[in-house]
Symmetry: C2
Subunit: 229 residues, 2 copies
């Protein structure tokens, strides 16, 4: 049964398990070859609209999936690496994200970081709030800001692993692209034994990408359902 | 265009990229928790038939996929680890595989190993031939034995990585199961930059498993097709 205010995780992964190529840098934020992961998304009508370009773009299966992903969404959580600007303190002329003056989120975004910073209001309704007291605090703040809508976990890999390990993700959609990057940032790494079970929701094949969607069932819920507690 | 005598690779993988769980041993040949990877296959009618049990079993999507996989198949290649019996010399009472007197292959099987050994004929048409001079030799022998039919690459991960890196695989079908094993033998590891491109053939969702099938296009073929050579 679907609860209110789900935490949904949504990410594009190569068939060999990478969400970014090797050697990530300011010049190559997605690593070498990592841009190709998102070829399927860049050309979609929904993607263009979110980025302020309402002219043209592909409709169809992939576009429908992306629209569904961003429907009923009230806030986003991401890691410092996804927000960008390199590691360490923010400095005098702090980085404002990869997305220009009008980022595509149009809602509150919570950035996990070790370095405190004042909230940053951008055009179009996006506000970046910097959270230094951990993933559970970020989730609590994001759910409150989302006002009953869902929260999106955007990535990157390390943050997703923390939320997965903590059993905090409700739904996960992985867009698998037919690429072998051969190296980079793995989505699933160092997870160890998890107290979660995946239930497939649906598989959709679009041009150049396969969308795998799962509900994540926590072991506590399983025990409850079976009457074991 | 489909060539004769394809090398087809067929393997079951967890969503987090593992084809066996951690701590593989004679007691746990698929590693801890790795048995669960194959729950979808064990109960199929086609699987039971191949293992000499014609009574019952599931039909439907997954059964159709397995039947298609084993159709037009003339020989199999596998690594020493998949054949089993531990590493090192074969010893006085050599291991005869995991599958009993009547293995489910019913055709020539070529086992890659560093340790020479006489061929081993089993019941039901399975013959294990032990190949010590590398993956290309095994493929050449297997294609000859297959008599115009396809050759199956069964695994494990290390052998598959060698064939992938050498650009020798024509088709690859990955059965993705909704499990996070959290550790074990990764299918895709240490691949580095590959001179291959994947073209999706089809995606099929069955109960408890999603079947992703790709054609592997070698860069040499790509250059030829574009007139670059």
């Amino acid at each position: 049964m679907r609860k209110d205010e789900q935490l949904r995780f949504n990410i594009t992964m190569s068939l060999d398990g990478y969400v970014a190529g090797p050697n990530q840098s300011v010049k190559h934020p997605l690593g070498e070859g990592g841009d190709r992961l998102h070829d399927w998304a860049f050309k979609l009508k929904s993607f263009r609209e979110m980025h302020g370009d309402g002219s043209g773009g592909e409709t169809g299966t992939n576009d429908d999936i992306v629209r569904e992903t961003f429907a009923n969404l009230g806030a986003t959580i991401m890691g410092r690496n996804m927000f960008g600007g390199g590691p360490g303190p923010w400095g005098k002329d702090p980085w404002k994200g990869w997305w220009g003056d009008n980022p595509p989120f149009h809602a509150p975004v919570f950035v996990l970081t070790h370095h405190a910073r004042e909230p940053l209001a951008m055009q179009g309704g996006t506000t970046f709030t910097f959270v230094t007291d951990g993933i559970e605090s970020a989730l609590k703040q994001a759910k409150k800001a989302a006002g009953g809508k869902d929260v999106m976990l955007g990535g990157g890999a390390k943050v997703a692993q923390q939320y997965l390990a903590a059993g905090l993700i409700d739904e996960m959609e992985i867009h698998v692209v037919p690429l072998l990057l051969g190296g980079g940032a793995r989505l699933f790494d160092d997870l160890g034994r998890l107290g979660v079970r995946l239930e497939p929701i649906r598989t959709v094949e679009g041009p150049g990408v396969t969308h795998l969607k799962y509900r994540i069932v926590k072991e506590a819920d399983l025990a409850l359902a079976s009457g074991a507690v």
